[in-house]
């Protein structure tokens, strides 16, 4: 089953084929050449110019620990199990705080860790969050030299600076 078809061609066919090849190649080159002036440049010069991300863009997860009621629904919904939550009962008689949308925080959040190196950015966790404290932020520039630095503890003190930027009053 040799698919190569060999046949002798006449002089006319030979030169016709040659002309076809040259003509169609020139046509293609002409299309490319037109890009010099006829088409606006498409490149985004990234570090200087940044594309504005759409509102729904799903990038790094952020949890606003002050609004979290430790319901663990996000951890249940997560298909890759990369959200780790631990909580304790509040001591008797302590004041019950409210979240920004009025839900009572009845548990004391002791751990809220997301392993960003495992996250698949599917957004299922944010849809189930009752207080909308877990959101996808618009940061995508957080490459790291070590893998351990990709595990985020959202109760750490240095998260405050990050929170100020993401959570809008």
């Amino acid at each position: 089953m040799n698919t190569q078809v060999h046949h002798t061609s006449s002089v006319k066919e030979y030169f016709g084929g040659l002309w076809d090849g040259i003509y169609s190649s020139l046509k293609g080159m002409w299309i490319t050449f037109r890009y010099v002036w006829a088409v606006a440049p498409v490149s985004i010069e990234y570090p200087e110019v940044r594309e504005v991300l759409p509102e729904r863009a799903r990038m790094r997860l952020f949890n606003d620990a002050l609004n979290c009621i430790s319901c663990t629904q996000c951890a249940m919904a997560c298909p890759v199990d990369c959200i780790y939550i631990a909580s304790e009962k509040l001591p008797e008689g302590s004041e019950i705080k409210k979240t920004s949308n009025g839900q009572a925080i009845r548990l004391h959040l002791t751990q809220f860790t997301i392993d960003t190196a495992l996250c698949c950015y599917c957004g299922l966790c944010t849809t189930v969050c009752p207080t909308e404290c877990l959101t996808h932020s618009h940061d995508y520039e957080f490459s790291a030299y070590t893998i351990d630095s990709m595990k985020y503890d959202y109760l750490a003190p240095d998260i405050v600076a990050w929170r100020d930027r993401i959570v809008k009053a």
Binding site: M76, Q111, K151
Partner: protein
């Protein structure tokens, strides 16, 4: 359609013992025909060659492990724009250690890869298959992954399959606890 077809198979292939399984809700679920394991090649040959119900293509072979037996499902179809026909043909394999059935490569060439995949995932050998090797997993892989009782091997070729330092053991306490609660609830319910 399945009832008539199973009768037709029984009439023409002796010993095929075709049993039609009809669902109550045909809109939601698929019906199927189960045949005798040893007669699968003859049944497929009949379904392909006979004039009235010819199925000219094997769409898919899928294995299912029901723990006490395994099933191999052959999805037959007909590339005929005037009358589209689909059929799920099933055979049961009860022997889990030396599971083997006849290959249908003689009828459908497409079964070559599909049967190799079923062998790879479920450990069902296909007799008379020209090239019975693993297809997705490496040749020296242990166990058959899609069996329900499969336990992954510890290491392969010097690489640990589940390295402890990558498993977030200390963080997963929560999930482990949740699983324990679930288990306790299930036991209570029983």
């Amino acid at each position: 359609m399945h009832k008539e077809l199973s009768d037709l198979i029984n009439r023409n292939v002796s010993g095929a013992n075709a049993v039609a399984y009809l669902t109550a809700d045909a809109k939601k679920f698929d019906s199927s025909i189960t045949v005798e394991t040893s007669h699968i090649y003859k049944v497929v040959e009949f379904l392909k060659t006979n004039k009235t119900t010819s199925f000219n293509s094997l769409h898919c072979i899928s294995g299912v492990d029901y723990t006490d037996y395994m099933e191999v499902c052959y999805m037959l179809t007909n590339y005929d724009p005037s009358a589209v026909r689909n059929l799920t043909l099933k055979v049961r394999v009860t022997d889990r250690v030396n599971a083997a059935i006849d290959s249908v490569v003689g009828q459908f060439v497409s079964a070559d890869f599909l049967e190799r995949e079923v062998y790879d995932m479920f450990g069902i050998k296909f007799n008379n298959h020209p090239d019975m090797r693993r297809i997705l997993c490496p040749d020296d892989w242990e166990g058959f992954p899609l069996r329900k009782d499969y336990v992954a091997q510890k290491d392969y070729n010097g690489m640990t399959v589940y390295p402890d330092n990558k498993m977030n053991m200390e963080d997963r306490e929560f999930i482990v606890r949740q699983n324990m609660i679930k288990k306790a609830q299930a036991e209570k319910a029983q």
